[in-house]
Symmetry: C2
Subunit: 270 residues, 2 copies
Amino acid sequence: MTLWVRFIHGEGVAACGTLESGRVRRHAGEWGAEPQPTDEVLPLASLTLLPPCTPSKIIALWNNFEALRVKLGKAVPAHPLYLIKAASCVAGPGEEIRRPASYAGKIAFEGELGIVIGRRCKDVSVGEAASYIGGYTCVNDVTAAEVLNENGDFAQWCRAKSYDGFGCLGPAIASQLEYAGERVVTRVDGVERQNYPLADMIFPPEELVSRISHDMTLLPGDVIACGTSLGVGSIRDGASVEITIGGIGSLTNTLAPAARQLPQGQASAA
Amino acid sequence: MTLWVRFIHGEGVAACGTLESGRVRRHAGEWGAEPQPTDEVLPLASLTLLPPCTPSKIIALWNNFEALRVKLGKAVPAHPLYLIKAASCVAGPGEEIRRPASYAGKIAFEGELGIVIGRRCKDVSVGEAASYIGGYTCVNDVTAAEVLNENGDFAQWCRAKSYDGFGCLGPAIASQLEYAGERVVTRVDGVERQNYPLADMIFPPEELVSRISHDMTLLPGDVIACGTSLGVGSIRDGASVEITIGGIGSLTNTLAPAARQLPQGQASAA
């Protein structure tokens, strides 16, 4: 198994590389387009990690874990239920999540497994799907909880989950993962809040990729966030959220307070 | 006012240009990045038009026209209500919309005005918004109507509107548009089905850009589809839908039947 990262070194441009015991071997070319190893090996601590991929879309599942489905009293879905998060919401490892200036309400964390698409994918079978999966990463699917239901006629899933910084990805892409044996652990300021098994997924990754590829073309770097399970909660300003999945690593992001006040004339969501 | 198109000429690569009485002046560089005019002028009829922009996201409004709001008995929204269509759903002028193999149900047209973002845009005021609008185009916001409500727990807006080809854009980007005096006219096989005034928008373009820019960063080429009004209906296989907006032109796309049968083991949405 290979762990892929994207990074900036010094004042350089973004590059990708593989993690090798605390060091990163720089590769030439883009992740997803057969990058080739170079002789350059850099200490991990000298790098600024970026989101490990640059998705054209983030597909985020709802009601995809059996334990949470039972708790919420929902029916087993016949097809994956999902929304789309704007690609502009992506944040990398260690990057601050900034509270939107327009929103004073509850901001929720959701620790999730992310599937990263490895190559262009349309109408693939469940059996073929694994060969289109480039790897797996950790996702914090951040949500402005009170925006979601502020309008009684229309659930604002896309808006509530697309604020800049609300799609935390990283720290690495694990090229393979025996996900059925792994768990998602979410800690807020070091206190465990989620710890659930990936074996509990209603639609596992190969099934998600196959079925969603029958809805739309998936492109290299696209992310399918597999949904969350029990233990979702809120993040107070200043708190840090760490999502850990065995075989991938830990993704940590801190919620920073809003940078400035709401301009006059802008409606508040709070 | 300038009309911008994107096109392929012969076996060449995609380029952008300006329409000048039935001919296109090729420009060097990308639309949205200050392309420069060249000496090359091509007959429009010799070109294959592409979608006029390549959005990183398509934000599609719901309940943004007063006449339709009143008909549906909905409240006036306090903030624009929107979903996100996958960028992979974009189709250009004349391109076939292909019925998804997995879906035998009703496919609806929605003729709409599309705002095309001209430059990176975050937290802009209503007064500043016009300078971030690169222009306007026609949108057919195609929808698999029976997918939308097939699950009682979760409205599948993103899935129903993101099938490949379900985001028709074009034929051109009008750099300026006195939209308040224009109407959206939708014809199916030549029969008028929608004819509504853009002056009836609840949140007009400058207000949409300002408010949505407070939710997320908007990037050059991103499209905000302003929502539709009265007259939405279904498209039978083989029918062509033409969306016309004065000052922009006419966007025509035909719904082709499904290419092939549903593979065994894939659930049908129909």
